[in-house]
Each structure stands twice: as C-alpha cells, then as structure tokens.
C-alpha cells in the first residue's frame, strides 16, 4: 500500500487520525489517552512493533512507535505528546509483547511512566539510581564528561 491508500485505510480504522506531513513514513499523532484504543484498532494491520523511542523536547516528551505489517510491508509511525512534569501513557506490552522491554528502557532512561505495565522497573540502571539519564537536563558530575 502506498501512503495515500494507507491514509484511507487508517481513516476506516480510527475515528479522526491526525497525519503529520513530510516524513519518510506515514506518521500519525495521537492523544495519549487514545493510545490503547488506537493500538487495538491497528494491531491487526501492524503486527510488528520494531522501535519504541522517547524524546525529551524540554517542554514535553514525545513517544515514537515504529510499526510495520509483516504481510503488507507498510510502515506507520505513531507519535504521542506527553506532559513534561508527569509523563505517562498506557502500556502496549499486552498488545505487542516486545513493548514490555522497550517501555522499561524508556522508563529507565526518561522516567516515562507506562500505566498498567506488568513489571515497570529500571532495566539498565541500578534500582537505587537517581534521575533519568537521557533527559536533557540530567546532570551527573561523576559519570558525565562535558565536551
């Protein structure tokens, strides 16, 4: 499916998708509150979640989910804007199993809370670690070398 066909197809699955222009792959922006229903609606067409990324924009966070269909080979990028003070979004680890580890990574390094996650703990850092290392305002005088 090309981008336009995919757009039309998504319009039948989702109530009012918001498309972002100019990117390599079709990108939709969603309200974090709608993520669970969106994920369930697109799960059949996009069965392979290959990348989960959090981005710190200083004023807000963005969660980026890269999805592909293993049968039709079309790719979709889903973005959700999260609050900077209390970043939280519903987990999709019950929908795509790979999300469990990816979300733990995002929690560990960015402090994004995934509600209803079965096992939300730090993944790389030790349990008693303070702060969220990949945030832009993170300071660590011992382990960070400023260039």
């Amino acid at each position: 499916m090309n981008k336009e066909e995919l757009k039309e197809h998504l319009a039948t699955l989702l109530p009012s998708p918001t498309f972002e222009e100019g990117a390599e792959w079709l990108t939709i922006t969603i309200d974090p509150a709608e993520w669970e229903s969106t994920a369930k609606a697109i799960r059949k067409d996009f069965d392979y979640l290959f990348c989960v990324t959090a981005v710190d924009w200083r004023t807000h966070f963005t969660m980026v989910y890269h999805l592909t269909s293993t049968t039709h080979r079309h790719t979709l990028v889903v973005k959700a804007k999260l609050d900077h003070e209390n970043p939280a979004i519903r987990t999709v680890s019950d929908i795509w199993r790979t999300a469990e580890f990816h979300e733990r990574e995002a929690f560990d390094l960015f402090g994004v809370v995934f509600t209803d996650h079965p096992d939300l703990r730090r993944l790389f850092m030790t349990d008693e670690w303070n702060g969220w290392p990949l945030r832009k305002d993170y300071e660590d005088p011992v382990n960070m070398i400023k260039l």
């Binding site: 290959f50 990348c51 890269h66 293993t70 790979t98 990574e105 390094l109 790389f124 030790t126």
Partner: protein, 371 residues
C-alpha cells in the same frame, strides 16, 4: 558462578546465572526460578555493560559517532557502521560511489561469515562439544587478517563513514578473499559433518525452545531467530540497500521454530554469504571510494531512520536532528535486545540444561543489548 539465592513460598528455587558465566558470553545476569530442574521463569537483568551510547552520541558529530557504534555489536561492527552511515547519507542526500557500495556489501558479508563462525563454535561449546570452537576460530582468523589489512582493525572497524568507506581496499584484498573462499568451501562441509549430523547434538537441539511465528513477530524477533520460525524478515531482501537488490541470494527460512531450525538457518546463511561475495569479488567497480562531502556535516532539521541486517537481525538507526552538527536524539534499535525479550517465553517449561542451548541459538552479544 551459579549460586543459590533463595527459595519462594512454593518451594521453587531461585538462582542467579551470571553476570559472569561462560554460557552467557558476556555480562548477562539471569535470575531463574526453578521447580526441580524445570524452568518456571527467566528474568534478565541488564546494564552491566551499559555505557549510554545514545547519550554519548548527542555530543558527538556525525563523523565521530560512528566509532561508538562499533562497540555495540562488536561482531557486526561493519554492519553497525553501515547503518549509521546510511542514515547520515539519507539526511544529507549523499550519493555513495558505486565502488564504495560494493566494498561495503563485501565487508558486510565477510562480517556475517565471521560472526556466524564464532557463533557456531560457541554454540557447539555451550552444548558440550569443545572441538568446533577451535575449527571456527581457525577459519575466522583468515577473515580477521583480511579486515586488518584493509581497515587497520580486527574487531572495531570504523571503516564505513558517511559518503563511502574510509580508505580504499588493500591491493591483496581480492586475492586473499578468493583464497579464503576456496578454502572455506570445504570447511563449511566439514562443519556440517562434525556437528549438524551428530545425533547427540540433534537431540540437544530439536524440539527445544520453540517459538511460533506469531510470537516471534510479537516479541520483535528478527534475524535468524525469527527466520527459524518461518518469519520472513531479511532487510537485505525486503528493503534492499546498496547493491543487495541486484544480487542473487536466497532468504533462508526454516519452519521448525526450535533451536535446531535456528541453527540450520545460520549454517545456510553462511553459504548464502559466500554466494554474495563470489558475485562481487571480481566485479568491484573502479573510481572513488569516498564521495566528496563538506568538512562539517549538518543534518537538516527532521528525522531519519535507516535499517540494515546484521548477523543478529534488524539494526535500526533513528536520528532526530535540529539542524546542528550533533544529533538531538539518536536511538539504536538493536536486534539482540528484542530477541532476548523472548527468552523467558522460549525457556519456560524446559530443563535448566536446555537454557544454555536456547541462549546459544539466540546468538546474544551483550554490549549490543545494553548499548
């Protein structure tokens, strides 16, 4: 190295394997809940070699950041570098000279061969056969020597740079690769005789660690791990980059889904890599090996994603640029990370001795998982 930790209320034994254990091939720490000898749960604890490479990259330029990616999956360092170079080239719309494209593919496939050789030796050692390890390392040495001549390094290459490859191939390169291939053809048959048809080995592998195609996709497994379950996921075939689209080779896939199927996939992939190298080694185009680029690379504002097939699966590079000389955010999608997440699912219900076989066929490289 395996020490007792505690027992649960149900009388299950909880033990630690690693972080320093010969079968984890690196600093992987597994907490295993056992009922007798049967595995009830495997919980990986990561981070023993976490260097926060993604954070480091935020303060490195688009030329500098290549070197840290060699240190993630150190057995596929060429291919990691390749993924990064492709992503920067995509952002800057650099056209890579045809010579560099072919050299890159040759290096990628030699790397895949070397990586699968090491895996084969280590895998056989994990299940109790020590000899194959020495066979594998003997042949792998020849590839390392070829790499050393051209790239100056044996493990962390940093050879592929935005625009092409850092230096032209060594004058001996083509001759040595051909010598290696003629010698390796017979060796790979020897590998099969030595291990693949061995009935004890087969009994350890067949029917162990089953992964269904649906689960492989849901867990985000890629590479030989997923292809052992019959999932088509070879980036070289599905989203061809460089000259892969013009080459004759097959995407290997096995239906079994067990350890033996994953083993067979890698063994056949070695033969496919040989096939690719044979098609290219006498057809390296002349000309430049490096495109002219600006002294300082600045990616335009936006986001760029590139995918390559490493020896372990799909490696993704996601660069978010604000228009500066360094990336605003960079994300590496490492194949081992997702493959490892399926370990608990695959090992559940098996005996603890089988865990080593299952981990062996996942071909984990811990720095790739921890990043």
């Amino acid at each position: 190295m395996i020490e007792e930790l505690s027992t649960t209320e149900q009388g299950d034994l909880v033990i630690n394997v690693g972080p320093q254990h010969p079968s984890t091939h690196g600093v992987l720490h597994l907490v295993i809940t056992l009922n007798g000898e049967t595995i009830k749960k495997v919980e990986p604890h990561l981070g023993y070699i976490h260097r926060s490479i993604e954070k480091m990259c935020e303060s490195l330029s688009y030329r500098q950041f290549i070197y840290v990616t060699s240190r993630m999956d150190y057995l596929s360092s060429h291919i990691n570098n390749h993924g990064c170079a492709l992503c920067v080239e995509k952002g800057l719309q650099i056209e890579v000279p045809p010579r560099a494209k072919v050299i890159r593919v040759l290096m990628d496939e030699l790397t895949r061969l070397a990586s699968h050789q090491l895996w084969w030796g280590a895998m056989a050692m994990d299940v109790g056969a020590l000899t194959p390890f020495f066979h594998a390392f003997r042949e792998r040495e020849a590839i390392n020597d070829i790499m050393e001549e051209t790239c100056g390094a044996r493990l962390t290459m940093n050879y592929m740079v935005p625009g092409g490859v850092m230096a032209d191939i060594h004058p001996n390169f083509q001759r040595k690769v051909k010598e290696f291939l003629s010698f390796f053809h017979t060796k790979i048959d020897e590998y099969d005789e030595l291990v693949t048809d061995n009935v004890i080995f087969k009994n350890r592998m067949a029917g162990v660690g089953h992964l269904s195609p649906e689960d492989a996709i849901s867990y985000g497994c890629t590479g030989p791990t997923a292809r052992g379950s019959g999932v088509s996921c070879d980036i070289r075939k599905l989203y061809p980059y460089e000259v892969y689209g013009d080459l004759q080779f097959e995407e290997i896939s096995e239906k079994g889904g067990d350890c033996f199927a994953r083993y067979l996939v890698r063994m056949q992939e070695m033969r496919q890599s040989i096939k690719i190298i044979e098609q290219l080694i006498d057809n390296i185009p002349g000309g430049e090996h490096l495109a002219k680029t600006k002294a300082v690379l600045k990616l335009p504002k936006g986001e760029f994603y590139s995918r390559v097939e490493t020896a372990r699966g799909e490696f993704g590079v996601y660069i978010i640029s604000e228009g500066g000389t360094t990336p605003y955010r960079i994300k590496f999608r490492s194949p081992g990370f997702s493959n490892l997440s399926a370990l608990d699912h695959m090992a559940k219900g098996h005996k603890i001795g089988d865990l080593v076989a299952i981990m062996g066929t996942l071909d984990l490289v811990i720095p790739d998982i921890d990043r």
